[in-house]
Subunit: 228 residues, 2 copies
DNA sequence: CGCTAATTTGATCAGACTCAAGTGAAGTGG
DNA sequence: CCACTTCACTTGAGTCTGATCAAATTAGCG
């Protein structure tokens, strides 16, 4: 998963959605020239709901977004967490098939997708970005199905931690922005099992838990062995 | 390895306009104008393996194809069954991330994807079809993650049967082309649990099982209630 | 500092798995 | 055409992982 194209597409250095460029200057390092509109959301705020008309596609500028689906009785499956640079909200239909919420405070850029031709028939940067975003989502989904269908609780947690570490810091420590409930609903577990698995990994010396949301990957080899 | 593809497949690698190709089941707009080669595969024959170079994208013309991933110890997850009209084998990278095999005898059309621009930058019908295929795969994957992560064995089977019925006959009976093992590896269960769930649904009067592979959806309402 | 929410831990339960045997259908060859 | 083999599926018994129910602890926060 280290194609030049993939890397290029995921690189936040490349200005996205840059068509006419009404100079929108973000403070600090990020200077975004965008035709989309920038939106901020507070923790747990809804960006769009399941069933909403699909009007925009989004890209995370900062913070974390979760997309999820619900069963009628409230059981929830978080299909993905989206980090800075990730595209989400692409739909084939004109209706969102999952909901998107801010995990913590976050900023996203929204681009109106007037119709599908924006994705399919155009050789624009936006179309390419959306296609690449979709491909990445698909790869992620396929890996996640393997996890959900065939991995044990401990393996799920190990895989999750390694993946999060790689996507964020890339170092041997990470701050989890999401709750145990979110992790459970992402991995197809309960919060109790998530908590117990963390504890077990800590006792095995694979990780350290200075606090609940801060994880040190003390023994990556052990984690990778669990990653199967 | 594309050699395997060419030698093992008892194929007439005859380039055809797909208008001349065997009947498309897909309704509506599907009319491909691209050239591809037609290949036939016998039951359980490999179309491509995990790790193979990704040279073609495929579309099922007849029969069923399964795409799956493996863990190092052999645990398998079938991420999807592909029916007539379905596109599979699209990769962001130049390497296949899952393997594809014929569930029963089947015929596919292979399109060489010399590069990604065929998918991203072109306004061709093929590009559109691939994009649509990818979108459908993503929607399927998202629904399937909900199933794998949050549904009970009985619910999984009910959902699977309703989905298969809708995708094939659309009527109240269907012939399953795949084994219990395939179903188990698709739903994240064991064959024993699959079998027991079938039996239980039969006892509840939701389905009838004239034979193991032939299912009559006797009470769709009951199944849909389980579909949550 | 006290209140609330999040997380951890404990005890018990249940759904799905494992191991094992039995049944049945499809071919194969005599 | 019928024994014989084989493979797929079903069924049964016991086990175990992860869920549920419940309580304790910790962390945030006004």
């Amino acid at each position: 998963m280290q194609t030049a194209l993939l890397t290029k597409a995921s690189s936040s250095a490349i200005p996205l959605f840059s068509l006419e460029a009404p100079q929108f200057r973000k403070s600090g390092n990020t200077a975004v020239t965008a035709v989309g509109s920038i939106h901020s959301y507070a923790k747990d705020e809804e960006i769009f709901a399941e069933g909403d008309r699909s009007v925009y596609v989004y890209k995370v500028l900062s913070g974390f977004v979760r997309t999820s689906k619900l069963l009628s009785d409230g059981r929830r499956q978080i299909d993905a967490f989206h980090l800075s640079g990730d595209v989400f909200g692409i739909e084939a239909d004109d209706e969102h098939r999952f909901c998107a919420e801010a995990v913590g405070d976050c900023v996203v850029i929204a681009h109106r997708r007037s119709n599908l031709s924006a994705l399919m028939g155009n050789d624009t940067l936006l179309a390419q970005e959306m296609t690449m975003g979709m491909m990445r989502s698909l790869v992620r989904a396929q890996n996640h199905m393997l996890l959900l269908g065939r991995k044990s609780a401990l393996e799920k947690i190990a895989t999750f931690l390694l993946d999060m570490a790689e996507r964020t810091a890339g170092k041997d420590a990470l701050d989890l922005p999401m709750s145990r409930t979110d992790i459970a609903d992402h991995l197809g577990l309960t919060i109790e099992t998530v908590s117990r698995s963390f504890t077990q990994l800590e006792r095995q010396g694979a990780i350290e838990l200075p606090s609940a949301r801060h994880v040190v990957l003390a023994n990556k080899t052990a984690l990778e062995r669990l990653n199967a």
